[in-house]
């Protein structure tokens, strides 16, 4: 919304500097987007007369114009426009002028020809919208006269702000002036507009049969007022009106349309004009459209309506307008119009919102109707319309009028407790202070009998504030006009210790561990393109969006793999190879959810759309082993499951897994529960994503992992006796995993307790394959370290254990000790 300072001052004696006013508007909830000074930069522009026009010798699109500034000298100007003729008076920006755009006019040469200034269009001076050519001035102006004097241009300020959705009153100059006047403590006044009337006096106005209105859909139309303005002559609006419209962001069209827009901007009442002669017997009816009903609207488009759209129809029941959105072409004002039927209505905001959204037709009128127009405004706006039009053309207000009611919402009367006001705001306002803040903005207050809960006010909400319906709404008005910045700042005390939950702490530990391991966190968007999952070797079962903006973002990820592969590929394409990334984020799955109980508290704990949180890692492959090393780092970082020394809680079950190398992949089990996958990305997948290097992959489901209860680690004694080391190498089948052999060794060695043994440490230190060993076999060499709490172990004791281990490996894995 753009408002002019001069326009505001027609309603209230607004004072203060521009920056002061700007701060006040923002503080009232009209956050300024821009402040624009107009009329201040036109100082160097004067009236000049065209003496001669001739073509530029070396440029097709430029002509040379000689102008006279009143001293009889011919001054040559290069000009791109050709709409002027010899003898025309035109505005000339002389050398040294700074145009409103900031451009400085200086002597220059254009293709070798001197130009000593610039002829201006209305747009260049920001006083008109016409940029088709040079502004042609009235012929009687004195040459050399400053343009500001010649056109009576006044300096003004345009304040532009974003009107809040709950403040339809700020979509009018009057509404802004009322709010600002209240803040400044200056009187706001509304003139009784008094247009000249034709026929009977205003007091005797009555329907004379020129027009009639019928509301067939009272839930759609709360009020429908018509006035007839007779003796209309279509023409141009005067410059002052055109300028205001332009400054407010509208284009001047003709006097009738301009007055219509002017009234809407000024008072906030959208209105529509019909050529009365084009309405059979002046009859209008308001009804819902029929399904598929067609109407040609003013913008020249034929639109198809539904039964949820409101229309205004003529006596023959043909639609002549879409309610609250746009008028029809059939009754449009034209050169031949003499009698104008003016419509001033109140439309149901939801109906207008629905129609303008469905038709994607957003007009200044629909914007105001859908936010709520003041239902009391119509008669006033009708008089203002007639007054303005008669002031600029020979029109007169005809006594004919209709004022038909439908269903109108009642403005609320609200009990407001002073305790509640101060209790919610943290202020100590007296009843009189609250009244002093509310009354000037039309919230009429009246003290009521104390009901035992302190002082109370009965507040009549003004009709222009349909958003205000309950006590807190009124309290907001108090806060607004008291000044939110003036409310004393206090700090409430939380009775809780602020802390993170175990899961939130675990998440941080995981991140620290990954960053510590040299990985960088990526954050791909969770949207995938159709085909992304398949290219990653995964099932194409991602949830689909019903209304994606683009197809490339229409599938929700079921895995972190595609997003991270894209990130790796992106970096590789920018010559950033060997990137090591991790991500912690959510994935979504079809079919894993059902809403069992519609009760709100039951909704709390259910999983929607199979949403789970995962952590994934992608890095340069070492036969998939790179990711396994990180798995250890990760699990150790959350420090909960006593990973060492034994028994091992983690198990890797080799298998063919979607998207992964069939021979280098495993499911990760922790304490018997599946928590994720680890391995190397399938070469086909790498190829599909255009990645040349081999990648290791790890993805863990945090919803499972972090739900495993945490254990506070309990200290164990550290032995002070010497330890014995022993190396054992076993030849086993390729299928036997190193980890299973290690687990067996751990199980076959004595641990603390009756044996007194502690710290049985088992490390794989060498893996060896050779022809001598034989195909399909490998040698796994382990170093075992034994120690007892209470003594130095004897060779005999260690030998017993050694034999026991060898025996167990043979039994469980068919392994033999390598010679």
């Amino acid at each position: 919304m753009k408002v002019l300072l001069s326009w505001l001052r027609e309603f209230a004696p607004i004072t203060g500097t521009t920056p002061e006013i700007a701060i006040q508007l923002t503080d009232l909830g009209m956050e300024l987007e821009s402040i624009h000074q107009i009329g201040t930069s036109l100082g160097g522009i004067v009236v000049a007369q065209v003496l001669e026009i001739r073509p530029h010798p070396d440029a097709d699109k430029i002509c040379l114009v000689d102008v006279d500034l009143g001293d009889g000298e011919a001054l040559q100007i290069c000009c791109g426009a050709t709409n002027m003729a010899v003898g025309d008076r035109v505005p000339l920006a002389t050398i040294g002028t700074e145009m409103p755009s900031g451009m400085l006019i200086a002597p220059r040469k254009m293709r070798g020809q001197a130009s000593n200034g610039m002829l201006c269009s209305g747009r260049e001076m920001e006083i008109g919208d016409d940029h088709e050519g040079i502004l042609i001035l009235p012929p009687d102006l004195a040459l050399g006269l400053p343009i500001t004097e010649a056109l009576d241009l006044r300096e003004d300020v345009v304040f532009e702000f974003d009107a809040l959705p709950n403040r339809p009153d700020t979509l009018s100059v009057m509404g802004v002036a009322r709010d600002l006047a209240a803040r400044q403590g200056v009187p706001f006044s509304l003139t009784e507009f008094s247009p000249p009337t034709a026929g009977e006096s205003a007091a005797g106005e009555s329907a004379t049969g020129l027009s009639s209105v019928q509301i067939l859909a009272p839930e759609l139309c709360g009020r429908f007022v018509t006035r007839v303005i007779s003796g209309v002559q279509l023409g141009q609006s005067p410059r002052w009106m055109a300028q205001r419209l332009i400054a407010a962001g509208m284009r001047p069209i003709n006097n009738v349309v301009d007055v219509s827009n002017y009234v809407m901007l000024e008072l906030g009442q959208p209105n529509h004009t019909y050529d009365l002669s084009k309405l059979p017997s002046g009859e209008l009816r308001v009804r819902w459209a029929t399904e598929g009903e067609q109407i040609l609207t003013l913008d020249g488009v034929t639109r198809s309506l539904t039964a949820a759209d409101g229309v205004i129809a003529d006596g023959s029941d043909a639609a002549v307008g879409i309610a609250g959105v746009m008028g029809g072409a059939s009754t449009e004002i034209s050169e031949t119009t003499t009698d104008v039927l003016l419509e001033l209505a109140w439309w149901d905001p939801e109906a207008v919102a629905a129609t303008s959204t469905r038709l994607n037709l957003h007009s200044e009128a629909s914007l105001r109707f859908k936010r709520g127009v003041d239902p009391e405004l119509a008669p006033l706006a009708g008089r203002r319309f007639a007054e303005l039009l008669s002031a600029i053309s020979p029109a007169q207000l005809h006594p004919d009028q209709n004022d038909v009611a439908g269903n109108l919402p009642q403005a609320a009367r609200i009990r407001v407790r002073l305790n509640k006001v101060n209790g919610l705001l943290g202020t100590a306002l007296s009843r009189e202070q609250v009244q002093g803040l509310l009354d000037p903005i039309g919230f009429v207050t009246e003290p009521v009998q104390d009901s035992g809960d302190g002082e109370e006010l009965l507040v009549q909400v003004p009709t222009w504030r349909p958003d205000s319906s309950i006590e807190v709404d009124v309290i907001e008005e108090v806060a607004r006009h008291y000044g939110m910045a003036r409310i004393p700042k206090t700090i409430p005390t939380s009775p809780h210790a602020g802390e993170l939950t175990q899961r939130q702490l675990d998440r941080r530990c995981l991140r620290r561990a990954l960053v510590g391991a040299g990985l960088t966190e990526a954050m791909p968007v969770p949207f995938l393109a159709p085909g992304d999952l398949e290219r990653a070797g995964l099932a194409a079962d991602g949830l689909l969006l019903a209304n994606p903006l683009v197809a490339e973002e229409s599938v929700l990820r079921t895995s972190l793999l595609p997003g991270l592969l894209k990130a790796v590929a992106y970096n590789a394409s920018h010559r950033q190879n060997s990137v090591e990334l991790y991500e912690l984020g959510r994935v979504f799955r079809v079919g894993e959810r059902v809403i069992a109980d519609p009760g709100e508290s039951a909704k709390l704990d259910r999983v929607l759309a199979g949403e789970t949180e995962h952590v994934a890692v992608v890095l340069a492959a070492k036969e998939g082993g790179a990711a396994v090393e990180l798995l250890q780092v990760l699990l150790a970082s959350v420090n909960r499951w006593g990973l060492e020394p034994a028994p091992l809680a983690v198990e890797l079950v080799a298998g063919e897994l979607a998207g992964l190398h069939p021979g280098r992949a495993a499911t990760v089990l922790l304490a018997g529960q599946e928590i994720g996958v680890v391995g190397e990305v399938h070469p086909d997948v790498l190829q599909a994503y255009g990645i040349e290097q081999r990648l290791a992959w790890l993805q863990l489901n945090l919803d499972v992992l972090l739900q495993i209860p945490s254990v506070v680690p309990q200290a164990t004694l550290v032995s002070r006796f010497p330890s014995s080391d022993m190396d054992l190498a076993f030849v086993v089948d390729e299928q036997v995993t190193a980890e299973s052999v290690r687990a067996t060794i751990l199980r076959s060695t004595p641990t603390a307790g009756s044996s007194g043994w502690v710290a049985a440490r088992v490390e794989l230190f060498d893996v060896f394959r050779s022809e001598q060993l034989g195909a399909g076999l490998k040698s796994l060499a382990f170093r075992l370290r034994f120690q007892a709490l209470d003594r130095t172990l004897t060779d005999e004791e260690v030998t017993v254990v050694r034999l026991q281990v060898i025996d167990q490996i043979e039994q469980h894995h068919g392994g033999r000790l390598r010679d």
Binding site: L28, L164, M484, G591, V594, E611
Partner: protein, 342 residues
């Protein structure tokens, strides 16, 4: 007996000084101090001596032995430190050769911002709550005083899920949450159910979605943090004070904040909060307000008994301001040249 221990000592000490290797020292030690040495041999002549003489010779021998041992030790440590110095000289390396090879990981700048915000609010007595990214219409809109036909729903361009894929949905519509505000409702309902509150002091950071084209200042997927305080007698002054103390903790003590009126369906009064910029202008950070009675009711609380405030703002926007990021799209491009700057 003509051998003089003192003479042996002088002679031997000179030999030790002249020694050029540890092996030579070892040889000399055998020669002068070993069992076959002259000094050791002198012991044999003791029995021929008078006690008086024996005592004198004994002390001479001890003195000579001490002198020789000292000379050997001296010579050895000289040779050893020369050898260590020579070794060190050959071991000289340029430590900076490996400097560039070190890989340092990086948390995403959004995560860093997120965690810092959590820390600031935890220090102010808030706990951190979480909620799903796929939400029901009820939690995302209706419970927040946005019934189905509410015109303000158009403020959020919402991405809906194609519900034909989900069984058991009934009438319910699933969407990608457009803000973290549904977690307010979840926090209230949970507190009421578990009996853990009010008082409720909670912040809810999380990922949110809009049907929006990515550009320098918009992302379809971004992050917000939402704060909610519910207790008896909570005022708008408490809101202003909490925002102020957050702004000082996060941006620095010299910063200040202000509230100015705004509109959100879920708060009344509603405000935006700005922070003071260095040039005296104000920078818009987020929205806030006193929790609307209808929202309290949806959270299972009686608005006559409880009041509260809520605030929320974009984590990405904060990161953009703090780290001088010009284009929000940098956050999701995952270019390591960007990610590794933080």
């Amino acid at each position: 007996m003509t051998v003089d221990p003192q003479q042996i000592a002088v002679e031997g000490a000179a030999a030790f000084v002249a020694a050029e290797s540890l092996a030579e020292i070892h040889e000399l030690e055998l020669q002068y101090l070993g069992q076959q040495s002259l000094l050791s041999g002198m012991k044999a002549s003791f029995r021929d001596l008078e006690p008086q003489e024996r005592k004198a010779l004994g002390s001479q021998m001890n003195a000579a032995r001490q002198q020789l041992e000292l000379a050997a030790q001296d010579s050895r440590s000289k040779l050893e430190s020369a050898a260590r110095a020579a070794q060190l000289a050959t071991e000289r390396v340029d430590l900076t050769e490996t400097l560039a090879k070190a890989t340092v990981g990086h948390s995403h700048v959004i995560t860093q911002t997120w965690e810092r915000l959590e820390d600031v609010f935890c220090s102010m007595g808030f706990t951190v709550a979480d909620g799903p990214e796929v939400e029901t219409d009820w939690f995302n809109f209706e419970a927040l005083n946005l019934p189905p036909a509410h015109p303000a729903r158009s403020l959020w361009d919402t991405l809906y899920l194609d519900s034909s894929q989900l069984e058991g949905l009934g009438e319910e519509q699933l969407l990608l949450r457009t803000h973290t505000s549904p977690v307010q409702i979840r926090s209230m309902l949970r507190a009421v159910r578990d009996g853990s509150g009010p008082p409720i002091y909670v912040v809810c950071p999380g990922r949110v979605y809009r049907r929006d084209t990515a550009d320098a200042t918009h992302l379809p997927v971004f992050h917000q943090i939402e704060g909610l305080v519910i207790d008896r007698g909570i005022t708008m002054g408490d809101l202003a004070g909490t925002i102020e103390s957050f702004v000082k903790a996060y941006f620095g003590d010299e910063m200040t904040s202000r509230l100015r009126p705004s509109y959100f369906p879920f708060t009344e009064p509603s405000a935006e909060f700005d922070i003071s910029a260095a040039d005296g202008s104000w920078l818009e950070v987020g929205g806030c307000g006193m929790v609307h009675p209808n929202v309290l009711r949806a959270g299972g609380l009686d608005p006559q008994e409880w009041s509260g405030f809520a605030f929320g703002f974009g984590i990405d926007r904060l990161a953009k301001i703090r780290y001088g990021v010009e284009d929000l799209r940098e956050f999701v491009t995952n270019d390591v040249r960007f990610l590794s700057q933080f």
